[in-house]
Amino acid sequence: MVSRSRGTSPSGRLFELGSYIGLYAYQSPRFVSGNHTDSGASVLPRLWQQPPIASASDDITGLISPHARTLEESRQVLSNALRAAGFDEVGVYDAPGGFMLVTKVERIHADGSSFQGKERWTSEKEPLRSLSLAEYLKALFLEKPGQFRLMAFVVSTGFETTDRTKILTEEFARRAVVRGARGELPEDIASKPLAGHKCQVLIYHFEKRPGGGVRVLLPSELSAQNHLAKAQLLARLGAGQ
């Protein structure tokens, strides 16, 4: 009744819309329980039923297994290495029998090394800062708008095969880290032994086109190992940092 009487004016319609959104949020299981089910067991959000085809991928179980016995320990090894490499924010997702860590999309140089500072996390064009003639001519005639990278670390019993018909979009990739959970794994999977699980890294290498638009490079010119090395992750993962 209230919403009907108020719905005649613009502010009334806004109120009505707000009421519906509030009601939907209240009824939605996601909002009711956050990352918990009714039984109290914690669940992680699922990003993909099957990951889209990656620019590069590799099995890095051998790098993780010497430093972790459980899935939570493996998450810590991965998270610590990522944090040390500058990835302060990592999204945690569900994967079959395990979990998946997704990094923020970072801007990279052509050789795979990361940009520094705030330029690393922006998708905007970086203006020329040096007044050198050579730099200017290079920027005018040769500069490409940029390359970007998203990394997904999948620790699971399945999920290894990527969906070759699906292409990851830049927009989805940029939101991926935001939608993920944070912190430790839920209790029901944290204590699972790492044995029997595979750890795979999926690299999504994007190239911004000068005329607009972004595409995933399939395949990337760099191998997954090269990407990890250039992102300062390979040595850290090997050392269990």
Binding site: K125, E143, K144, R209, P210, G211, G212, G213
Partner: protein
């Protein structure tokens, strides 16, 4: 006194030739820079889009000039018609400013946050009105009939 003054006035023919050379050189430089950028892959995947921006900015005026020069190519009679210096200067300096604005738009792009094509399209905001002013003055000079034709 009046003879000396008339000597200093530019002829219509000379003003037209000056403008034609100016536009050919200016447009040529702009086209050359954009073509070099296109070869470098800066406008991929559709390099034709950038020429779709340049052509409407220079081609209508150049076409007008070429059409008139072609029409008068076989008329060997000497032209004595004079143009008021103020108007000739306006057309010439207007053209310089306009072609310079196109060139600066292309060259300044690395210093901006805009993507190459974004900036070029955005520049139509100031190039459009400028083109209108310049094209109208050039139109008057190129569409004015020569004295010899009127005499006939």
């Amino acid at each position: 006194m009046s003879r000396n003054k008339s000597r200093r006035l530019p002829t219509l023919e000379a003003t037209r030739a000056h403008l034609f050379r100016l536009w050919m050189v200016g447009s040529g430089i702009c086209a050359l820079i954009l073509a070099s950028e296109a070869v470098g892959g800066r406008f991929d995947p559709d390099p034709s889009e950038v020429f779709g921006w340049l052509m409407p900015n220079v081609l209508p005026t150049l076409s007008l000039m070429v059409a008139l020069i072609r029409a008068e190519a076989t008329q060997a009679a000497e032209d004595t018609q004079l143009v008021k210096p103020l108007f000739a200067s306006f057309a010439i300096w207007g053209s310089r400013v306009y072609l310079g604005a196109i060139l600066i738009t292309i060259l300044v792009e690395p210093f901006t946050n805009y993507q190459p094509l974004e900036l070029l399209k955005f520049s139509n905001l100031w190039l459009g009105p400028l083109q209108g002013l310049v094209a109208s003055s050039i139109g008057v000079l190129f569409l004015t009939e020569r004295q010899r034709e009127r005499a006939q």
